[in-house]
């Protein structure tokens, strides 16, 4: 009986937590995505699929980044989406960020990321239709950003 009550309580606590945060913590929900070594593994861990449609996602970054510690990246798309994620293949792990979208969101995100070496930035838009749309940008990094 005690065990049953305990189980009931922990389920209740688990369900209540995301409601309090009013948003998804993708680090807690999909831990494997954040330790994945390749972009493909990270996408698979996050979305359960690697069937990507290469269209309508624009990734902008300089062709040559002078400072790998702060590479400016923007991702734009007009696809009605649920989430947007950015990955790269220049660092030991590939996940950079996952945005959760709602009715107020516009897919126009800018950020600065670290890249240890030259590589490709991949942005995935999880569409409201459940399909995964992808855009990529390859760039050269003159001075790596993870040496610290």
């Amino acid at each position: 009986m005690e065990r049953r009550e305990f189980l009931g309580l922990s389920v209740a606590a688990f369900v209540a937590l995301p409601a309090l945060l009013s948003a998804t913590d993708f680090r807690a929900a999909k831990p494997d995505a954040w330790t994945a070594k390749t972009v493909e593994d990270a996408i698979k861990a996050l979305y359960g699929s690697v069937e990507l449609i290469e269209k309508d996602v624009k990734v902008k970054a300089p062709k040559v980044a002078s400072n790998g510690g702060a590479v400016p990246v923007t991702v734009q798309s007009s696809i009605p989406g649920k989430t947007v994620s950015i990955f790269q293949d220049a660092n030991p792990e590939s996940a950079v960020i996952t945005f959760e979208l709602n009715e107020y969101s516009i897919i126009d995100f800018g950020l600065k990321i670290k890249m240890k070496q030259s590589g490709t930035i991949t942005a995935v838009v999880e569409g409201a239709d459940g399909k995964l749309y992808v855009g990529k940008q390859t760039l050269e990094v003159a001075l790596g950003g993870c040496e610290g």
């Binding site: 993708f26 790269q88 792990e93 996940a95 960020i97 996952t98 009715e103 107020y104 670290k114 610290g148």
Partner: protein, 99 residues
């Protein structure tokens, strides 16, 4: 935190700069300390979430977050409230009036 939020037509354009070292696991190892970086950042207006991101160690030091959201969620004078949490559980909240 530095926040700029401005309504332009039917969108609100926002720039946020958080102050954080964003130490990766590699960098921390070299410095003989523990990794720590922002793991989640969100922004709200009038209790409506307008930005929400789970983040990794690979954002730059003092990371920049640029985004836009539909102006139907806000009007000039409303407060945009931004909160981040890092790996160690530190959190910071700041707000700014939307212009």
């Amino acid at each position: 935190m530095r926040i700029k939020a401005k309504i332009k037509g039917d969108v609100v354009q926002v720039k946020v700069m958080a102050k954080h070292d964003m130490l990766t696991y590699d960098q921390a190892k070299k410095k003989g300390t523990e990794a720590n970086f922002i793991t989640h950042i969100s922004a709200k207006v009038n209790d409506k979430v307008v930005y929400d991101a789970s983040t990794s160690q690979f954002l730059s030091k003092d990371p920049l977050f640029q985004f836009a959201f539909k102006a139907s969620a806000a009007k000039p004078g409303d407060k945009l409230e931004v909160t981040w949490v890092d790996l160690k559980g530190n959190t910071e909240t700041d707000s700014k009036e939307i212009k």
